[in-house]
């Protein structure tokens, strides 16, 4: 049984008073401090909706009513479609979905203990792997093909995804031209430009730079993405003590302001654009100011982000599930589990980076996708919680069985055992004797076998005709 889109929200690190106070500070920040906008197209869009602009400093300020008005234009529900409809995911409310994340440069190979550069082939193989891992609900393009020139990266990345999984593909882009080529390809795969807008099988990730900067290139990209009408994610990545106050509350304000500026810009360009509020907020290693991907504070910040998204009624893209470990050890397991769990229980709509990533998000590992798939299965079960009703409380059954009886052969047991209890796909529950008999394998070794069997099974490739057409019309795709 696959659990996805289950309602979370039982974990609330912020009280309603906290949320109100953060919101108030966020609105004051946009009204009084403002945001520096380095993109001309973005600046024009802000001008058109009546923002106050300090041209010399390129500083944009908006009154709080205007901010709330623009936020209200953004849809609170966004559907990210799979090439196969069964993979559609409906972001909004406190429903929880998961996906991969990126963009990593390296692959860690646990068999040799070595790290190597990621190639386009890796991206294809990881897409095939994710296609078959049930607890990962969408594919966010996870690696950067190091061997390609930057102009060819965007279209090749999206093609690798589209041609190897029928789950939804989300990804960052590196050039405006590349993004346009990606959209043209997605239109061919969807059938037409209209079909793509109706069933967006891809979505684009942009970014706002913390604190309070809309960059030239990414500003242009938010504008172009909003014009396209495709779902666009506007995440921000404030780092405690570096690009935001060191306190979690201060970090939350910066993250909320920056992501909201992206959402607002998209609405200013094209009201009604499916814009996703996003957080990649985290802490830093205070000994050398490295970016940290597995801290418990990252879990707290991204869980709190879900509450802010629910407050603004915006779909939410959270970050969780990573580790700073360099290998598949205990740290890799507990950091991934704790951050994923906090995000999920808070009702994060889409937890990005939830599988495969390690080492400050620089590296992915095939085996870790399989391990994280298991973590996510347990996490989603936790989100589901405990159902209490006449049938589950089973008073009549207990009356029938009585003292000293057992429930092994009760029909009730069979009726509920699969629904109520998550069945591991990876964890070992054998007795020691049985485990020894099977080769005394560590988790990652069992995961490696699963990777192998998935990569040997048929891929969810594009239908032949579409594939041919895409390859003949878009020359920059590496065959």
């Amino acid at each position: 049984m696959i659990r996805k889109g289950i309602e979370g929200g039982s974990y609330k690190p912020l009280t309603p008073e906290d949320i109100s106070r953060i919101n108030d500070t966020v609105l004051s920040t946009i009204e009084e401090i403002g945001c520096q906008v380095n993109s001309d197209t973005a600046l024009d869009a802000f001008k058109r909706v009546g923002a106050s602009i300090d041209s010399k400093k390129r500083r944009v300020r908006l009154p709080r009513e205007k901010v709330l008005e623009l936020i209200s234009k953004a849809p609170s529900e966004v559907t990210l479609c799979g090439r196969d409809e069964k993979y559609d995911i409906h972001l909004g409310g406190a429903r929880v979905y998961t996906g991969t994340g990126g963009t990593a440069l390296y692959i860690y190979e646990p068999t040799t203990g070595e790290r190597r550069q990621a190639t386009l082939t890796d991206l294809k193989d990881i897409s095939r792997l994710v296609d078959k891992l049930d607890n990962i609900h969408l594919l966010l393009l996870p690696t950067y093909p190091n061997e390609l020139p930057v102009e060819q990266v965007d279209v090749n990345r999206f093609f690798a995804g589209l041609d190897n999984t029928s789950k939804h593909i989300m990804g960052g882009v590196y050039t405006i031209d590349g993004m346009c080529e990606v959209m043209r390809m997605a239109e061919m795969v969807a059938g037409s430009p209209e079909a793509l807008r109706q069933r967006p099988i891809i979505s684009i990730i942009t970014c706002v730079i913390s604190p309070f900067i809309i960059d030239e290139k990414y500003g242009d990209m938010i504008v172009a993405a909003a014009e396209s009408g495709l779902p666009v994610v506007c995440p921000s990545e404030p780092l405690c003590g570096a690009t935001s106050p060191v306190t979690l509350a201060g970090n939350l304000v910066v993250q909320t302001v920056d992501s909201l500026m992206g959402v607002i810009l998209a609405q200013a360009v094209n009201p009604g654009t499916p814009a996703i509020f996003g957080s990649v907020a985290t802490s830093t290693d205070l000994r050398d100011y490295k970016y940290i991907a597995g801290s418990v504070e990252m879990g707290l910040l991204n869980a709190a982000g879900a509450q802010m998204a629910q407050f603004y009624k915006l779909p939410y893209y959270a970050t969780g599930g990573m580790t700073d470990s360099k290998t598949l050890d205990a740290q890799s397991g507990y950091e991934s589990a704790i951050t994923n769990l906090l995000c999920a229980l808070s009702g994060s709509n889409f937890i990005h980076d939830s599988a495969g990533l390690m080492e400050f998000a620089m590296t992915v590992c095939y085996e870790k996708y399989v391990i994280d798939n298991e973590i996510l299965g347990m996490v989603m079960r936790a989100v589901e919680g405990i159902k209490v009703n006449d049938e589950t409380i089973a008073y009549d059954l207990m009356k029938e069985i009585g003292p000293g009886g057992n429930f092994v052969t009760a029909k009730h047991t069979r009726r509920f055992m699969r629904k109520e209890h998550y069945q591991p796909g990876l964890s070992d529950r054998n007795s020691r004797e049985k485990w020894d008999e099977k080769g005394s394998h560590a988790t990652w070794e069992v995961a490696a076998k699963k990777v192998k069997s998935i990569l040997e099974s048929p891929a969810s490739s594009l239908p032949d005709e579409i594939r041919k057409r895409v390859l003949s019309e878009i020359k920059s795709i590496v065959k």
């Binding site: 052969t409 029909k411 069979r414 055992m417």
Partner: protein
């Protein structure tokens, strides 16, 4: 027609549906005939009893066993299927002799004195019924003399003894001695089981066999019975 009913019996054993009211693993099966109704229908339409047993029941338990091995089925699934076969065998019992089918054997099951635990014994009983044996479960916390009396009266081919506690398993030895004194020991094979019991202990007290768990217990008896 006959093949159709046999197929349905097989499918319903795999689904663990004893009667029409039972749910299966697949959705929406409740309301359709279960193993009880189908076996009765098969008998009424004159299908050979040995065909029902071999093609309908035995073959389906093999399929269930495979599903258990691969992890698709859990113990409660296995037990539901075995119970369905046990129920079918009860219905077929009066017809066995007439059809020339030799019964697989009679087994008496008991938990020894001082021990109230009977989940293990019940599971083994269900699995043995599912394997086609006639099983009589005489209960738990039984005095040695009552077990001896039951062996004398019921004349089983096998006696299964269960204990969960180290303090109660010692009475297994007493039971074997009492059967020897009553001249019944060579008329019945004794198989013991339960958490504290071991192969070594079985040998020590002079039992004929030991089952490490329910499935092992069934296979030990099958081997003794010459079916494996």
């Amino acid at each position: 027609m006959s093949e159709n009913i046999i197929e349905l019996i097989k499918e319903n054993v795999i689904q663990g549906r004893i009667t029409r009211d039972d749910e299966g693993i697949e959705e929406d099966m409740a309301g359709q005939p279960g193993v009880t109704e189908l076996v009765e229908e098969a008998l009424a339409s004159g299908i050979d009893v040995s065909e029902i047993i071999n093609k309908g029941l035995t073959a389906s338990m093999q399929a269930v066993g495979q599903k258990f091995e691969t992890g698709e089925y859990f113990i409660p699934d296995m037990l539901a299927s075995a119970e369905a076969v046990g129920t079918a065998m009860e219905i077929l019992k009066p017809h066995l002799e007439k059809s020339g089918v030799k019964p697989k054997g009679k087994i008496l099951m008991a938990t020894v004195k001082g021990d109230l635990h009977d989940i293990g014994k019940n599971i083994v009983s269900i699995l043995l019924r599912g394997a086609g044996y006639m099983v009589k479960d005489i209960g738990n916390n039984l005095d040695t003399k009552d077990i001896v009396k039951a062996v004398r009266e019921e004349k089983p081919d096998y006696l299964g003894l269960s204990a969960l506690l180290t303090s109660t398993m010692v009475s297994m030895e007493d039971i074997i001695k009492a059967l020897e004194e009553s001249g019944l020991r060579d008329k019945v094979k004794i198989i013991i089981g339960g958490a504290p019991v071991s192969e070594e202990y079985a040998r020590e007290i002079g039992a004929d066999g030991y089952g490490a768990d329910g499935f092992h217990g069934v296979s030990v008896i099958e081997t003794m019975n010459g079916h494996n």
